[in-house]
């Protein structure tokens, strides 16, 4: 469940993050939206955002499963961080490239699709994988709303066995192994693309 929720969080978060980034380049209103979006999702603790979303959906009489709500919350937050990471990388791409693309008759959409995004995403891979490990650990917070992910399951086992130290240490070990795998994968991908 931890893996499932984290992966879905990324799948939701990265595209939204890209959209948020592109919105930020579209005039004053777009810039303002991106600024507020990023500032809100980065300025409010994840736990509080989860609780807000879990109470907001029933409040507007919108009924989805707890897991879907958790994935939405994680995805929206990841999007904010992803768009900031990508924005940082975007600055490292010389503006001459966008100008050259415009001179060659590329529209804004084609410029993003063929020139900017492929480079930005590739250059951001290490930072994105770092963000992924943060997301993996953040997903422990959804145990609070009763989803049976790693942390919740270990709590339940503790409640029946009364062996907190052993169980929580094993859970911690699983988290550590998972984040090391992610970090190693990020490093390998980075090296793979650096070689080309």
């Amino acid at each position: 469940m931890t893996v499932y929720v984290s992966l879905l969080g990324v799948l939701v978060g990265v595209p939204i993050g890209i959209l948020v980034l592109i919105t930020g380049t579209l005039g004053t209103a777009g810039r303002l939206f991106t600024k507020i979006y990023v500032s809100y999702f980065r300025g409010v603790p994840l736990l509080v955002q989860l609780l807000v979303l879990f109470n907001f959906l029933p409040w507007i009489k919108f009924d989805i499963s707890a897991t879907a709500a958790a994935v939405t919350a994680l995805g929206l937050i990841t999007a904010a961080y992803v768009s900031e990471i990508l924005r940082g990388t975007l600055h490292s791409i010389p503006p001459g490239q966008s100008e050259a693309a415009a001179a060659l008759g590329y529209g804004p959409r084609a410029t993003w699709q063929y020139i900017l995004l492929p480079q930005v995403i590739r250059l951001s891979i290490p930072a994105l994988f770092n963000e992924l490990t943060l997301l993996l650990k953040s997903s422990s917070l959804i145990s609070v709303v009763g989803i049976a992910e790693l942390t919740r399951v270990s709590q339940n086992i503790v409640a029946t066995t009364f062996r907190p130290v052993e169980i929580y240490l094993v859970a911690a070990g699983i988290y550590i192994v998972m984040s090391q795998i992610l970090l190693t994968a990020g490093r390998l991908l980075e090296r793979h693309w650096a070689r080309r």
């Binding site: 500032s39 994840l46 109470n55 911690a172």
Partner: protein, 222 residues
């Protein structure tokens, strides 16, 4: 929308806010104090000092804060560490952040030019004096931006301690939401409150950063 329901809770909210700030400051001080020796061990030329520090940093950075809090608060009694929620929470926060601070210190020490250390040695400064008067101050200035950033992150993470029943702002607001049947409104106000708190801390941090690194920018613009 009836704001008068908040009035009886103002005292609790103020006390929750106090706990949040206290946990943040205490956790940050603990993490800064703990992070420095860990960073020094991590950079030690002796392998048997370096390896445990690396393992500590990787283990803590790979474990969610919530799990560390459970381990100390729930698992503590099993090895004779019987703590109230507040000290357990602060300890968890300090341990969690110490790994991040250790890495920040390490980056800072690496940023101190070798020549400065050699110059201090040639002026007859002892290794301790070199560390205290050259390496440490230079490293601290170099890492001020990352340090401010880590502190901002830490201020948000204090909300996790509400899960082990530290009566911080998140805990009190949740309680208020349940008792008044206005969960969403309370929590949304809480989110705005944290947003404001984090914005204030970030702004203060940025101002502090400009002040501390002023000489660097001044030198560069000449």
């Amino acid at each position: 929308m009836d704001l008068s329901i908040v009035v009886p809770y103002l005292g609790l909210l103020a006390s929750g806010f106090g706990y949040t700030v206290f946990c943040w400051l205490a956790g940050a001080l603990g993490a800064m104090a703990l992070g420095l020796p860990i960073a020094l061990l991590r950079m030690s030329p002796v392998r048997w000092l370096r390896i445990p520090a690396v393992l500590y940093i990787e283990a803590i950075r790979g474990t969610p804060l919530l799990l560390i809090a459970f381990l100390i608060y729930g698992g503590g009694p099993a090895f004779g560490l019987l703590l109230e929620p507040l000290p357990a929470g602060i300890l968890a926060l300090a341990l969690h952040a110490s790994a991040y601070f250790a890495e920040i210190y390490r980056v800072g020490f690496n940023a101190v030019p070798r020549g400065h250390v050699e110059a201090a040695a040639s002026l007859g400064m002892s290794p301790v004096a070199t560390f205290l008067r050259v390496q440490l101050p230079e490293a601290l200035v170099a890492v001020t931006p990352s340090m401010v950033n880590a502190l901002v992150v830490l201020s948000k993470e204090t909300s996790i301690l509400s899960i082990i029943s530290v009566p911080d702002l998140t805990y009190e607001v949740q309680k208020m939401g349940i008792e008044t049947f206005a969960s969403f409104e309370s929590l949304f106000a809480l989110a705005i409150g944290y947003w404001a708190l984090v914005s204030v801390i970030s702004t203060l941090g940025a101002a502090f950063e400009r002040r501390v690194t002023f000489h660097i920018h001044a030198a560069r613009s000449q």
